[in-house]
């Protein structure tokens, strides 16, 4: 959070009383509670892992967050998250002004990854733009399953300007 570049506003937090039977509050009028993840018995460990996996599957089901913009008629979709997604939006405005049909898929959560949203656009071409050497690139490719072409533009150490993204999209568009 110390590295956030965008402003973040939190809702006002108020203390809440919740009585959870597993909470450690002192073993008064009940058996002692234990919170742990160490299971030395292999079958007990697997049982515990299955419970954790159920939670992970629930998170994958219920907690995906993603923003899409101007995707309806888009022929090329930029996939970007974080700071670079905001820059991509500016690039898309300029490109639309030039008559290019470009849209955006912005994962708000990278885990769970919004694979289903990407699948919906498997008939478009993709440009993944990141401020690294491609940390999300493989997730996008896995989601699209080889059904369409996925290109990549990454900068590291500097925050790229929107005109760099425009150049990349125009290169891609001309290769049609």
């Amino acid at each position: 959070m110390g590295q956030m570049m965008e402003p973040v506003s939190f809702p006002k937090l108020t203390p809440q009383n919740s009585s959870k039977e597993w909470a450690l509050t002192g073993a008064k009028d009940r058996p002692a509670n234990l919170i742990k993840s160490l299971y030395l018995d292999p079958s007990a460990l697997e049982k515990h892992n299955l419970v954790i996996n159920e939670t992970i599957q629930k998170i994958k089901r219920d907690e995906v967050q993603v923003e899409t913009a101007q995707t309806d008629d888009a022929e090329i979709i930029i996939a970007a998250y974080g700071t670079i997604a905001r820059i991509a939006k500016t690039a898309i405005e300029v490109l639309r002004g030039k008559g290019l049909k470009v849209g955006l898929v912005r994962p708000i959560t990278v885990f769970p990854f919004p694979s289903k949203t990407f699948e919906e656009f498997a008939d478009r071409r993709f440009l993944v733009v990141e401020m690294n050497f491609g940390q999300m690139l493989e997730d996008v490719k896995l989601s699209l399953g080889g059904r369409t072409s996925v290109h990549f533009y990454g900068r590291t150490g500097v925050v790229p300007n929107y005109d760099e993204i425009i150049i990349e999209v125009e290169k891609l568009a001309s290769r049609k």
Binding site: A27, A32, K36
Partner: protein, 259 residues
């Protein structure tokens, strides 16, 4: 005088003076023969019972031989990630200031991977207690050199003996933490003789009292024998504590609140 009436008379006079503390679960521990951990587990249980605080005590045990304390104490307990017990205890204590919260950590945990948490919990004056088992070695993982391993001491990772040139000097955690203003009670004790066990219990009592009286951080460093990983018999091990460990790790109360 018949034998029968004598024994009847004796029975009426017999009083139970020693038993298993309520807080100590009636199970066998996994600790090796001659290990100090089991003694300390019992001492903690005795102190909890004497203060009648079993229902308002929470323990935190992180990675190492220490972690299985949760199998032996019949109180609410957390397992913490390696070295992070003081951080977990901090969260618990701040949400539940009326609970007595303690951590139970070995030297590989408290003086190595968890040094940052140890120092900052003490520096913040968190109202928690650490029971720190210093046996100068990594026990559970098989006898590797620890930050507290003595110069010259042989371990699986210092097979020719620890040298200061290669591995530096053993850390005296009690002295280190006693320099911090947030630390209210710091003591080092042993559990290698009955006399020392009694002193160790008193130090644990004091540390818990300090916490309950709203002073800052309290820590009891307990020199503990590890015959298995030291490659000694239990008798040799208690001698080694006396002859080798105590000269480097002197037993004393380094800091206590002025009443």
């Amino acid at each position: 005088m018949l034998a029968g009436s004598r024994s009847e008379n004796m029975q009426t006079q017999l009083q139970k003076v020693f038993g298993r503390p309520r807080t100590l679960r009636p199970v066998a521990t996994h600790y090796c023969p001659g290990c100090g951990h089991g003694i300390v587990a019992r001492l903690i249980a005795e102190v909890i019972d004497e203060f009648s605080i079993r229902e308002k005590t929470v323990g935190v045990a992180p990675v190492g031989c220490s972690v299985l304390l949760y199998n032996y104490l019949d109180i609410d307990m957390y397992e913490a990630a390696h070295g992070r017990a003081p951080a977990v205890a901090t969260g618990c204590k701040r949400v539940h200031p009326d609970l007595l919260v303690f951590t139970y950590q070995g030297d590989g945990d408290f003086a190595s991977i968890g040094t940052a948490e140890a120092i900052h919990a003490a520096a913040r004056g968190e109202r928690i207690t650490t029971i720190f088992i210093n046996n100068a070695i990594y026990g559970m993982t098989g006898g590797q050199m620890a930050p507290t391993t003595l110069i010259g001491q042989k371990t699986t990772t210092s097979p020719y003996g620890r040298t200061k040139e290669q591995a530096g000097f053993p850390i005296r955690m009690a002295e280190l933490l006693a320099t911090l203003d947030g630390a209210s009670f710091i003591a080092r004790v042993g559990v290698h003789t009955p006399k020392h066990i009694i002193q160790a219990k008193k130090a644990i009592e004091k540390a818990f009292s300090v916490q309950m009286n709203q002073h800052g951080y309290s820590m009891v460093e307990i020199l503990s024998q590890c015959p298995t990983d030291w490659g000694m018999s239990p008798i040799e091990a208690v001698k080694w504590v006396e002859e080798k460990m105590i000269p480097y790790y002197p037993l004393k109360t380094l800091k206590e609140p002025s009443e």
